[in-house]
């Protein structure tokens, strides 16, 4: 994985640090990427969930239902977490069920991303199991529901642990619009402002932000440019504005923005049409459909 310009000096200092190249992650690569060489037909959805969100009905009646719809729309891999990970405390159990469902019903499409909560006792063993037992390529975090922010030292330790194992870390900045949350289930949108400082302490971490706020995704936001320089990924589920993708890439061309639908909470088609609404170059379209996702998962050697 090419090192983003903004982090080269930091990484240079870390050259002697032993990177653990994960055999498990390498073995999972065909599953994550689909089969064969990358091409324009690949579509990697980096933001999918299994299970029911407590206050919404889901259109997914079974994992097979989810897989069928994603395949119908051309999705070739779906990075899938479990909504159980948001509110359950037995995350080891939730992650095991997620892995089993993806294995048994995912038909090679659903790629499990386990959840880790660094405020729970022995969270490091959840990281270990996600990697060694379930052979997951990444983790998904829900800080605003788990009670910490991005400047929390526990998160830095989690990123270090994930980085040592070559795991991508997805951080959900929101799940629902703050304005319309059920009063019994509120969680503020998370600010990404501490992330550059955090990555300075863990320069080998690979991070993708999910469901970023419209403020963060504003093309003129200097923080977004800074995150792009640091190689932080985002996805387009919550990207809005007319021809928003086109406008964003015009202003921040280095941004690793991947396809993401936040389905089944969102209608999948809402994300898909964003590719049609924006006029992208073939290279941009390839990058959004699958290239940026591949870069985020590429294992350092």
């Amino acid at each position: 994985m090419p090192v983003p310009a903004g982090r080269r000096s930091i990484v240079r200092k870390m050259e002697r640090r032993p990177f653990l190249v994960s055999a498990a992650t390498v073995a999972a690569a065909p599953l994550v990427f689909g089969t064969g060489a990358p091409d324009a037909a690949d579509l990697i959805d980096t933001n999918v969930s299994l299970g029911d969100w407590p206050v919404r009905k889901s259109w997914v009646k079974s994992p097979a239902d989810l897989v069928a719809r994603l395949r119908r729309h051309g999705v070739t891999a779906a990075w899938t977490a479990s909504f159980e990970g948001v509110l359950h405390s037995d995350l080891a159990g939730a992650n095991a069920r997620l892995a089993e469902t993806c294995r048994s019903d995912g038909t090679g499409l659903l790629v499990p991303f386990g959840t880790v909560n660094p405020t729970l006792p022995d969270w490091a063993d959840d990281v270990r199991r996600c990697h060694e037992v379930h052979r997951m390529p990444g983790l998904r975090l829900y800080p605003s529901y788990h009670g910490y922010t991005l400047d929390d030292a526990r998160l830095a330790r989690l990123l270090e642990a994930a980085s040592r194992r070559g795991l991508l870390v997805q951080i959900a900045l929101t799940l629902e619009d703050e304005r319309s949350q059920n009063p019994a289930l509120t969680a503020p949108a998370l600010t990404a402002a501490p992330l550059p400082g955090l990555l300075a302490t863990v320069p080998t971490a690979r991070v993708q932000l999910l469901n970023a706020t419209s403020r963060l995704l504003a093309p003129t936001n200097p923080l977004l440019t800074r995150l792009a320089d640091l190689g932080v990924g985002v996805e387009l589920a919550t990207l809005e504005g007319v021809a928003g993708l086109e406008g964003l890439l015009a202003k921040v061309p280095a941004l690793r923005i991947a396809f993401g639908s936040h389905t089944p909470y969102f209608y999948f088609e809402a994300a898909l049409l964003k590719l049609q609404e924006s006029a992208l170059t073939p290279a941009q379209l390839l990058a959004v459909r699958s290239g940026h996702a591949r870069q985020l998962l590429a294992t350092r050697s």
Partner: protein, 299 residues
């Protein structure tokens, strides 16, 4: 610009084929029966870049064509003011009038008013709708929509067969609303005072659409505008189930929102293709028809 010029320009444009008829998209999101449908959008703002209002509209139309949007109801040219003075809403409307001079084949204008300034709003309604090319009214967050100041405006709009689009939102169960920001519950109160007058519930309460749909359910004259919120699964299905598909309208709220996220929620909904056609085009067309006929526009 006089009244005759307006009607000449608008009527001429309305007889022409669409300058850039929406291309038939081939993405998998589209049911074959919906390709080339020609979507009508009840709720849009022209905030795309451009040196003039008409150039901004040109940029918006270019993007609308990519996703099959044929006609767009536009209102509230930026900059926006929560509680606009008469001068401010007149300036906003002047921009929309400038757009309509060149784009009346694709755009319908809604006059922006603030009923707190009752006489000035009534005068503006006469200028832009009775004597001008606009076909409806947009009310935002200038005042709560259950207030008595709206009554003469609603009555005159009914005489003119003008569409009334009222912004509504429910933030933190109403606790987070702006001081004068309306809710669907308040729109239902207004509707009760004006039976038989069609009203459009902008955003249908926004993210808390489940409350908004319930609030307007008993008022058959109120249509639900789906636009402006996150494309959360279930809204379209609930609206169709509780209101009937005939009362549901597609709206985008561009350019704050994308066409894509708002059309996508309709395309992805678990409802019939026939209902999707109603929502994406036919309901708005039927709703606007009296105003369009009054103006002599073809639609």
């Amino acid at each position: 610009m006089n009244r005759r010029d307006f009607f000449h320009a608008s009527a001429l444009a309305a007889t022409l084929p669409f300058a850039a008829r929406a291309a038939a998209p081939d993405a998998s999101a589209w049911d074959p029966e919906l390709r080339g449908l020609g979507i009508w959008d009840v709720h849009a703002h022209v905030g795309t870049p451009g040196a003039t209002p008409a150039k901004r509209m040109e940029a918006l139309i270019r993007i609308a064509d990519r996703v099959g949007v044929e006609r767009i109801c536009i209102c509230m040219s930026p900059p926006w003011h929560y509680e606009p003075t008469p001068e401010q809403f007149r300036q906003s409307n002047n921009d929309v009038l400038a757009i309509l001079k060149e784009w009346s084949s694709r755009a319908f204008g809604l006059v922006y008013l603030n009923p707190v300034h009752t006489q000035a709003s009534r005068d503006e309604l006469e200028r832009c709708v009775a004597d001008g090319p606009m076909i409806g009214i947009k009310l935002w967050v200038g005042t709560r929509c259950n207030r008595a100041e709206l009554d003469p405006i609603v009555q005159r709009a009914a005489e003119l067969k003008a569409l009334i689009l009222q912004h509504t939102w429910i933030k933190q169960r109403g606790k987070g609303n702006l001081p004068q920001e309306s809710t669907p519950m308040e729109l239902a109160e207004l509707s009760a005072r004006h039976p038989g007058v069609p009203l459009v519930c902008g955003h249908t309460g926004g993210g808390d659409w489940a409350l908004g749909i319930r609030a307007i359910r008993e008022r058959a004259d109120i249509r639900a505008d789906l636009g402006g919120g996150d494309p959360v699964y279930g809204e379209v299905e609930m609206a169709v189930r509780e209101l009937g598909a005939q009362r549901v309208l597609y709206g985008s709220d561009v350019n704050g929102r994308s066409f894509a996220s708002q059309i996508g929620r309709v395309l992805g909904a678990d409802i019939s293709v026939a209902d999707k056609k109603l929502i994406l085009r036919e309901n708005l067309r039927a709703l606007l028809l009296p105003a369009l006929q009054r103006k002599g526009y073809k639609a």
